[in-house]
Amino acid sequence: MTATAADVGHGYTTTGLPHRKIAIWAFIGSECMLFASLISTYLIYKGRSIAGPFPHEAWTDPSTHHVYKAILNIPVTSCSTFVLLMSSLAMVLALAAVENRDVPKHTLGDRILGSSKLWLFTTAALGATFLSFQAYEFTSFVHEGLTIRTNLFGSSFFTLTGFHGAHVTAGVLWLLTMLGIDFKRGLGPKDALNVDIMALYWHFVDVVWIAIFTLIYLIK
């Protein structure tokens, strides 16, 4: 062991990556287990509700003879899925705009693509649109007779998608905070790490939705 500190400055890290980048990946790994537990429970309880309404088929209440139609509305949710996926595209453009803030912009196209405010706003707006779809979906399910207390399907469905919605909500608040900072002092390459971390979180929440949409909505 020799004590020299020639190349160990304050910003030194072993891997060369910033700390926050490693921490967010560890966090995402942990979140995978969180959603895995929720999705597994949904799948384990699939088809085990002793009374309807059910996700994919109609159900007649034996005592009231009321007919409940299949709950899941796949066309509507396909739209909201598309919206959320497009938000990931906007997020990529927002990060690129922040990273390339100092690159000179010549054409209108350059200026549009290079506007971090525009793309951060678009990402947040698409996220909020997804949440509106979810709010619509939840209220219509309740009107059709499915609440979180109705049966195992209701409990596991609302808890799973509710957790995902809460993650999207946190992401939208994060995006709006960044947008506020962008309006206040402008985001540049030195902020790219913070935007990058937010983007990783946002893409992760998107990927989880792809799993949920496939396993819960598309597979009968």
């Binding site: 062991m1 072993t14 049966n151 195992l152």
Partner: protein, 629 residues
């Protein structure tokens, strides 16, 4: 300018904050480690008192010293306290103190998050412990099996305190997990590659992965239970078609890795203590690393051996029996490597060495009875009896706690600058060693004779009386042992022998700097070229008898400002953010009151405080601005 006079006080830098208030705002990993140590030892006294009351109740048949209801609260809180409030935080005390020192770093990656973890632990611990004073403590066992813990079978606030308390404590462990993983990956000094990393840091690294992967599972299991109890969902409502095994699976997918979360840090400490006091490098270092990783990975594949009695069928039972037997292999490898480390060594029987050797012996006994349970037919005889209680106390008391004590006697100087008294330490060791064997060994017999766990009293004439009497006498021996430890800590922290940098002639980086280390740890970041860098300079066998007499300079170490090292601000934000959690969750518990006002005030007030403090925290820089690259 070294003097030849032994110093009277531990070294400190001139600018170190002092006084009680400095502890609330600290972000220094060593001070946070001391906070964890002090708090965990306090909870240990509470959890120990609970155990003593239980043993007194069970000393003779048909005693009625406590009621059955209070007994339920005692065994639930004894388990919950010892696991979540004592062993895990004692390990966290060493994670905090040692990880940055062993890898040559100045702090953890996120010093404020680290303080946040501690405060969340403290508030969560108080939240879950306090209700026992009002007879409302959790009473469903530390495993909290649903549907037993649903509102139907457990009305009252007891289980609510447990669910919410554990939820709060989980946040502490997860935040610490992300922090230490980042620290170990990213803050190693130049040359400190993974295969030079001290074993304690390695085992801590494995444990952090277990924490971040296992805790989300119990978080969800607890969320389901919380929703069932507060919002009327059906996750554990058997009448609505729920699976009675859902909780057990989710709980043990967390619960078995949790066993390794409890024991691997102690393995790491023993792997530091053994080479130091045998004065030779750890035997089979790479195998020790790989076996630790293997234990961590296999730990996720054995959970259903806790559930052999529920009737999962021969295929599941066989699978989990085989994986459980497999995990004995890397564990056995570790035990042999410790023995081979001692083999041919020049052993110094300090208190720390005795605790480490005692730990290996005790853990081996617990491990052997553990392999016995891995066979489902044998397990059916043993499950839910005192045999299992004996088994896991050998592992957790004899393994984890004694390993942590070995660490405490070795590393006390790095917390305080002073050595623990060796004479008192040996008294502590021997009384503790005899006492713990006297409590836990007879439990194997009472268990095989059919005495069930968790019963509050029993009839005479079943062959259990003598064994229970012996266990209780052993438990009483642990009282003086623990009081000696407390006295030793209290006395030695004030007037113990000054330790100097390296009282034991050890080989790893933490011993190259003063005890206690200055706030910045390393004046210059070291460059590491081997596993025991200090022994390259001074071979272990050349070291003087321990403890060495320190010969460091009386002049105070230079301050961080003099060295130009940027230090994090002192801040109360982590404490305030952590405080918002019990306020918010406490507000949730008021939901069932007639008057909804306190519920709304505390829940939404706490949530607003949490968000507000987080924004305040995240928008304030960690250190003076000009140091940002």
């Amino acid at each position: 300018m070294a003097t030849t006079v032994a110093p009277q006080t531990p070294p400190r830098t001139a600018d170190e904050p002092t006084g009680p208030w400095s502890w609330f705002a600290t972000t220094d990993h060593k001070r946070i480690g001391s906070l964890y140590l002090f708090t965990a030892l306090t909870f240990m006294l509470i959890g120990g008192l609970e155990a003593e009351i239980m043993r007194t109740q069970l000393m003779r048949p048909n005693q009625h010293i406590v009621s059955a209801e209070l007994y339920n609260q005692l065994f639930t809180m004894h388990g919950t306290t010892m696991i979540f409030l004592v062993i895990m935080p004692l390990s966290a005390a060493f994670f905090n103190l040692l990880i940055p020192l062993q890898i040559g770093a100045r702090d953890v990656a996120f010093p404020r998050l680290n303080a946040f973890s501690y405060w969340v632990y403290l508030f969560g611990g108080i939240f879950i412990t306090l209700p026992i004073l009002f007879g409302a403590a959790p009473n469903g066992g530390w495993f909290g099996y649903a549907p037993l813990t649903t509102k139907t079978y457990s009305p009252g606030l007891n289980i609510d305190f447990w669910v919410i308390g554990l939820q709060i404590l989980g946040i502490s462990s997860l935040a610490a997990g992300f922090n230490f993983i980042t620290t170990i990956i990213n803050m190693r000094a130049p040359g400190m590659n993974l295969m030079r990393m001290p074993l304690f840091t390695w085992m801590s690294f494995v444990v952090q992965f277990l924490i971040i992967l296992a805790f989300p599972v119990i978080t969800i299991a607890l969320v389901f239970l919380l929703f069932d109890r507060f919002f009327g969902t059906n996750f554990y409502e058997i009448a609505r078609g729920a699976d009675p095994l859902l909780w057990q699976h989710l709980f043990w997918i967390f619960g078995h890795p949790e066993v390794y979360i409890l024991v691997l840090p102690a393995f790491g400490l023993v792997s530091e203590v053994m080479p130091t006091f045998a004065r030779k490098p750890l035997f089979g270092y790479p195998v020790m690393v790989y076996s630790g990783i293997l234990i961590g990975m296999l730990g996720f594949g054995v959970w259903a051996h806790h559930m052999f009695a529920v009737g999962m069928g021969p295929i599941a039972d066989s699978f989990f029996a085989v994986t459980t037997m497999l995990i004995a292999i890397p564990t056995g490898v570790k035990i042999f490597n410790w023995i081979f480390t001692l083999w041919g060594g020049s052993i110094r029987f300090t208190t720390a060495a005795m605790f480490a050797i005692g730990m290996v012996a005790m853990f081996t006994i617990g491990g052997i009875s553990g392999v016995m349970h891995s066979s489902p037919p044998a397990d059916l005889q043993q499950t839910d009896t005192y045999f299992v209680v004996g088994h896991f106390h050998y592992v957790i008391f004899g393994g984890s706690l004694m390993g942590l004590f070995a660490g405490l006697y070795t590393y006390f100087p790095k917390f305080t600058g002073r050595l623990l008294d060796e004479r008192l330490g040996k008294w502590h060791f021997w009384i503790n060693f005899f006492g713990s064997n006297l409590v836990f060994f007879p439990m194997h017999f009472s268990g095989l004779l059919g005495m069930p766990r968790r019963i509050w009293t029993y009839d005479a004439g079943q062959g259990w009386d003598t064994f229970n009497f012996l266990s209780t006498m052993g438990a009483y021996l642990l009282v003086p042992a623990t009081l000696i430890l407390v006295y030793n800590i209290w006395k030695s922290a004030r007037s113990g022998k000054i330790a100097g940098n390296d009282p034991w002639g050890a080989g790893t980086l933490e011993w190259s700097i003063p005890s206690p280390p200055p706030p910045y740890n390393f004046a210059t970041i070291p460059r590491v070229t081997s596993r025991y860098p200090l022994w390259d300079v001074k071979p272990p066998l050349a070291s003087a008898p321990v403890p060495n007499t320190p010969m460091h300079s009386e002049a105070p170490a230079p301050t961080a400002a003099e060295l130009g090292i940027p230090m994090p601000y002192h801040t109360l934000k982590p404490l305030l953010t952590a405080l918002a959690l019990p306020i918010m969750f406490g507000g949730l518990m008021l939901m069932h009151l007639e008057n909804k006002l306190p519920h709304y005030v505390f829940m939404y007030g706490g949530a607003a405080m949490l968000v507000g403090c987080l924004y305040w925290w995240l928008t304030t820089p960690l250190e003076p601005e000009h140091h940002h690259a």
